[in-house]
Symmetry: C2
Subunit: 217 residues, 2 copies
DNA sequence: TAGATTGTTAATCGATTAACAATC
DNA sequence: TAGATTGTTAATCGATTAACAATC
């Protein structure tokens, strides 16, 4: 349907940041912005922004720039973020709870519809209106609710088997917070593995060269 | 001190993944591995792995490959992950608690030493041995404990002011989980902004092209 | 020794930047 | 109209891949 050129991974990984930045600008009441100003704000080049956006179409106007609201709508369409994807969450431990209670799913156009756990003490609870079911109900509930996305917050050893169960149950994508990485080629649906430790290690790497006693530059 | 060539961002962002993968191999009892086998496992090319590692030295052996244990030690040195960095955590809400209770800081060679909040009901509690102090004690405790890293789990509007306070108090790097991105150039120390939503949006983008009814390829 | 595999150099490929005509 | 800024083409830069001599 869409008339998109080939879109590189580098471009795709910048799209969410464009979207976040523009949403923020909208909140601040900014109605339009040039690639130059947006670049300054995001620490990119104006060229890169224009090049990136041109993968998907021409959304700007010569001599004027881009309408912030219009660009937000376009990015929502491009990212598929307005599609109202339905999500289920597996594993209602500390992290699962933190996500259910705090994470703004709607910002990404995602709606959590159910959670699952094996712990009897948490089954039957609800978090912000999302009920926690017994894991054994997974297939039945998937049939009923037809979720698109699974949020995986289960222990490492449960990750792989549950992922396979989810795919059999018709899940279309997995957002994986467990320590066990899932290999997309083995799972068969898109997977985003989230590893907190990666960014902490990168931070450690970058701190390494700074002076612990504040004498250096 | 070290004899490193210029190391690109692309290489740095792969280092944590090398480290995780090798740690996993060690757990599985694998003692040595060739760039070819590691590449297959990580979905990279052997060339790229050898090229990446050669930024830091020659750790392999012709005809043999790499010793997993030796490479782990080298990566720990390269990443600065064995430096036993001291961390404090700000904002003991759901996410802060989840990190204190569940996150394996020691995997990254980081040791949490204190947490801070403004909520009187949580001040005085401890999580896995980490005491929660009143935020007003921050400067006093920093003087005492000399933390290297701050883990920021505070609300958006508190992020910027607290970050500046932390830098004044001698913090060397910020691991920022708040929704408010921190600009490194304005803060003055290395910052890693963690945005859960970015990976969820990328997942939505990639799901977009798959068929919701399982008829397509 | 023969086979395997490294580290490195050269070749290719892709991504970013620069430049500019088009035009609002 | 004159000034500003886009979308796109061309030039540059950097990163990945391929090839291979060195050597365990």
């Amino acid at each position: 349907m869409e008339n998109e050129k080939h879109v590189s991974k580098a471009v795709i990984s910048r799209l969410p940041r464009y979207y976040r930045t523009l949403r923020q600008l909208a909140v601040e009441g900014v109605g339009r912005i040039s690639s130059k100003d947006l670049a300054a704000q995001m620490d990119l080049t104006a060229s890169q922004i224009r090049q990136d956006l041109s993968c998907f179409g021409g959304f700007g106007q010569q001599g004027y720039g881009y309408s912030v609201d219009k660009l937000i709508v376009e990015l929502e369409r491009i990212l598929g973020v307005a599609a109202s994807q339905r999500a289920i969450l597996l594993g209602v431990g500390n992290l699962g709870r933190a996500l259910l209670r705090n994470f703004d799913f709607s910002f990404c156009g995602v709606r959590p519809v159910a959670a699952f756990d094996t712990d009897e003490t948490v089954i039957g609870c609800d978090f912000r209106g999302i009920p926690v079911h017994a894991l054994r109900e997974l297939e039945r509930l998937c049939e009923l609710e037809r979720p698109d996305i699974a949020v995986l917050c289960v222990p490492s050893d449960a990750t792989r088997p549950i992922a396979e169960r989810l795919v059999r149950a018709g899940i279309r994508g997995i957002w994986n917070f467990s320590n066990e990485s899932l290999r997309e080629d083995l799972i068969g649906v898109p997977v985003e593995n989230v590893h907190f430790s990666d960014s902490l290690m990168k931070l450690c790497y970058r701190i390494k060269d700074t002076d612990p006693f504040e004498f250096g530059e």
